[in-house]
């Protein structure tokens, strides 16, 4: 039997950001984004949970080689985002606002094509322990 199992790997990164849309007036930006509009930025310890789905390999007993998954996460996400100013240093956020929603989408897009055997199921990003976003790759 090739049972389908879900596997979740956590990673942590710290980064700063601010919310601003240049198409809005300063007043609109302030009203919409409040304290998050401070152009000097502020930071979070983000917690990332990546869930993959797949059949358990008969020989290895793995859904995915965790070592490989960890390397992909390090290379595609942490190297690019850990201890960075998201608005200025991560290409996706030169044109998109680095909200937790957009962060979850960007991380999904960075990971999806890099996974070989297991399929990406969910990207969950905690901005704080009291706020998180789930992205399932839905259009």
């Amino acid at each position: 039997m090739n049972a389908i199992v879900y596997l979740t790997r956590k990673a942590e990164f710290s980064a700063s950001h601010f919310y601003h849309n240049p198409e809005f007036t300063p007043e609109e930006n302030q009203r919409l984004f409040g304290k998050c509009n401070n152009p000097n930025g502020h930071g979070h310890n983000y917690l990332l949970e990546v869930t993959v789905r797949g059949a358990v390999d008969r020989r290895s007993g793995f859904v995915v080689d965790l070592k490989e998954l960890k390397e992909i996460l390090n290379r595609e996400v942490l190297d690019a985002m850990d201890h960075r100013f998201l608005n200025k240093e991560v290409p996706e956020f030169l044109t998109r606002i680095p909200t937790t929603e957009n962060l979850a989408i960007a991380i999904w897009q960075r990971l999806e094509s890099k996974l070989a055997k297991a399929k990406l199921h969910r990207v969950r990003v905690y901005e704080t322990p009291g706020l998180f976003v789930d992205f399932y790759g839905e259009a």
Partner: protein, 140 residues
């Protein structure tokens, strides 16, 4: 693109599990310590999950200020530091965390218009939690 956003809140309230439909003995057997006539309390943790397309201009499913505003005024304000048994919704209905979870879902459903309500999850203690997604819908 559609994303799910979850926000956590907390409130403290007391309750007593007791059903008028059952005898005193039955109540004691079914509810055990929770049937204590003087009631007891919990620090409830509430998770509200909403979903929707991430709006391009804001990068958001919905503005957190709108979600917080609604949940704090309509849910937390209503239940925090209250004895649940004294509230009208629990006059005929035992204030189990199942029923409270459904009640909070209904409050969200009635008036929150800024995003689609996906799920209400309520932790009674660190060891038990309840989820309601409305009717018989499958949960994620």
């Amino acid at each position: 693109m559609k994303a799910h956003l979850t926000r956590r809140y907390g409130f403290a309230a007391s309750h007593r599990l007791h059903s008028e439909a059952m005898s005193a003995d039955e109540n004691r057997t079914i509810y055990g310590k929770c049937n204590n006539p003087h009631g007891h309390g919990h620090n409830y943790a509430l998770e509200v999950t909403v979903s929707g397309p991430v709006a391009m201009p804001t990068g958001m499913v919905c503005n957190l200020a709108d979600l917080d505003g609604y949940v704090l005024s309509e849910v937390v304000e209503r239940y925090d530091q209250q004895n649940l048994n004294t509230l009208p919704e629990f006059a005929q209905n035992v204030p189990t965390t199942e029923n409270l979870c459904i009640e909070i879902y209904e409050i969200m459903q009635r008036g929150f218009r800024h995003a689609h309500l996906e799920k209400v999850r309520l932790e009674e203690t660190m060891m038990n939690s309840f989820e309601y997604t409305g009717g018989a819908e499958p949960r994620r």
